[in-house]
């Protein structure tokens, strides 16, 4: 995340006014107020995002790039403006570095597929054992397909990455390092600077899965010194089915296409095809126009928020949650113990209480949690777990959400033990 500057308000920031922008927060679940704490999976979109999508659908719906009529021009303008919003949110050097995707998973697959063709026997790919399957399976498949070795950055007992032996894992054979900026399970924040430095020492490319970091404020991909950065719209208050992949310009220019078809060519004749340059080479077919416009609106909205105040608020909620969890007997929290050292994603295991049962009981309190392996089975295996319960905080959450969670959790433990 970018450093936040600006004056410190004397009064703590509160989400009360911001919550009015989320129509879904008005609903109830089972006659109780909704306490939504599954934001790391999918979060809600504010009205401005819904309005932007509706405006396109109701006023300018048409195809982009090739329309010669007024609607096509308006749609193209809105679509490219959204690309600009992504570039500004990421602090990319240019809009040309931004590819619209269907989400982080697509971004990883695109990068893995395109990089695979340049790999040779003896090369190595490095991922961490804490990765989401989306940033694990594509690289695993790549290694199996090309006979390349996959190496793992191990995890500590709390699930955070163990970088103590990094120079033994990222070596001169390494071609790509793929890691998440924030774990979707532990909320641990990856020391990307150390990883990137080691990767650069050996000329390896760095892919960053930003799915969990992007929702927490504007980013600076140039400062990260990575080569790829992927994230999803549905975790960033935008629509589902949209995301973006940023690729540093020289790397992007060197990559072969992923999907082929319309929209990604310069010329096609019966002898062959000359591909378009830049991001267009990676956007075959009609793109998800409405979703991209919605994503642009979401990121524009995020860039207007007072992040210093929001982070203080998130930390206050995190401290409230951590204090409450510490009172639950037999509870093991994954990730760092202190609120200021982690992102507001909290996974925990409670002795003799399975996460599915916990989530079921919490649902009766109107509390939406996530239970299971969180698409991170290699991490679960390393920790000797099958599943955990996870609460994840967004900008609209309040202390009432945390209180409802803790109240329900005590009932769940009493019921299940």
């Amino acid at each position: 995340m970018r450093q936040v500057t600006g004056p410190v308000s004397k009064q703590a920031w509160s989400p009360d006014k911001l919550r009015q922008q989320f129509p879904i927060l008005q609903r109830e679940v089972g006659g109780r107020p909704l306490h939504y704490l599954d934001n790391a999976a999918t979060t809600f979109s504010p009205r401005c995002v819904q309005d932007a999508v509706a405006h396109y659908e109701n006023h300018s719906r048409s195809n982009v790039q090739r329309g010669m009529h007024q609607l096509g021009i308006e749609a193209t303008d809105a679509f490219e403006a959204a690309r600009g919003s992504v570039a500004r949110y990421l602090n990319a050097a240019s809009c040309d570095e931004v590819i619209f995707t269907s989400g982080t998973t697509f971004g990883v697959n695109l990068a893995a597929h395109c990089l695979g063709q340049s790999l040779q026997s003896g090369d190595e790919i490095v991922v961490s054992q804490a990765e989401h399957h989306s940033n694990f399976v594509p690289w695993q498949q790549l290694c199996q397909h090309y006979g390349v070795r996959m190496r793992l950055i191990p995890v500590l007992a709390n699930g955070s990455l163990d970088l103590s032996g990094l120079d033994q894992v990222i070596t001169e054979r390494c071609r790509v390092v793929a890691v998440s900026q924030i774990s979707n399970v532990t909320g641990s924040i990856t020391d990307l600077q150390t990883i990137t430095r080691q990767a650069r020492r050996h000329g390896a490319l760095v892919f960053v899965d930003g799915a969990q970091a992007a929702p927490h404020g504007p980013l600076d991909v140039q400062a990260l010194d990575a080569d790829f950065y992927a994230f999803s719209g549905h975790k960033c208050y935008g629509p589902t089915g949209i995301g973006a992949l940023w690729i540093r310009s020289p790397v992007l220019a060197s990559l072969p296409p992923f999907l082929t078809g319309g929209g990604m060519i310069e010329r096609v004749d019966i002898q062959g095809t000359r591909y378009a340059s830049g991001y267009r080479r990676f956007e075959a077919g009609t793109p998800p126009v409405a979703q991209a416009i919605g994503l642009g609106a979401a990121l524009d909205w995020l860039m207007t928020l007072p992040w210093r105040g929001i982070r203080a608020h998130e930390q206050a909620l995190s401290r409230q949650l951590l204090a409450g969890l510490s009172q639950v007997g037999g509870l093991t929290l994954l990730g760092e113990a202190a609120a200021q050292d982690r992102a507001p994603i909290f996974s925990f295991d409670i002795e003799a209480c399975h996460s599915h049962d916990i989530c079921q009981i919490l649902d009766g309190y109107g509390v939406a949690l996530r239970g299971g392996h969180h698409c991170a089975q290699p991490l679960m295996q390393a920790l000797g777990l099958v599943a955990t319960s996870r609460a994840s905080i967004a900008v609209f959450n309040t202390d009432a959400d945390i209180a409802a969670l803790l109240c329900g959790l005590h009932d769940a433990v009493e019921t299940l033990r």
Binding site: H354, H356, D357, I361, G364, Y365, H373, V386, A387
Partner: protein
């Protein structure tokens, strides 16, 4: 506030210790996962003339999965694949909401404890997982 799922005997059923984790010399094994939540059942059986003669299982799952696994362990001995398949079918039907009175086959009456689960579609797989494991082992 515990949604009714955990009342009426499910908890007690889940906490029974009715089967070992391994057999000394199993004829068949199966390992099944519920990809939705990561629950796992590793099952071993011995079979004679097409019928289950002994069963062991290692269940890493929720309370519903544990309870269903214990019913399987207690009731499946002596049954064939077709008979287990019939029970599975009746249970799946009840969960889907199309149960009739006395849907639980003789010897499997305790499955009525799972009737409240039919309102919770995301949990159906938890109850059915041990049956899937046994049917896979009998294939």
């Amino acid at each position: 506030m515990s949604s009714g799922l955990y009342d009426g005997g499910i908890k007690e059923l889940a906490q029974l210790d009715v089967s070992p984790e391994h057999l000394a010399d199993p004829d068949r094994r199966a390992s099944v996962d519920n990809p939705f939540c990561g629950d796992q059942v590793d099952l071993e059986i011995t079979v004679e003339a097409g019928r289950v003669t002994a069963l062991a299982q290692r269940v890493r799952g929720c309370m519903l999965c544990q309870a269903a696994a214990n019913v399987v362990a207690q009731s499946a001995i002596g049954l064939s694949s077709a008979e287990i398949g019939h029970v599975h079918s009746r249970l799946a039907g009840m969960l889907a909401g199309d149960s009739t009175p006395d849907w639980a086959p003789p010897g499997w009456e305790r499955l009525v404890l799972f009737e409240p689960v039919h309102r919770h579609r995301s949990r159906h797989g938890c109850v059915l997982l041990p049956f899937r494991a046994l049917l896979e082992a009998l294939c």
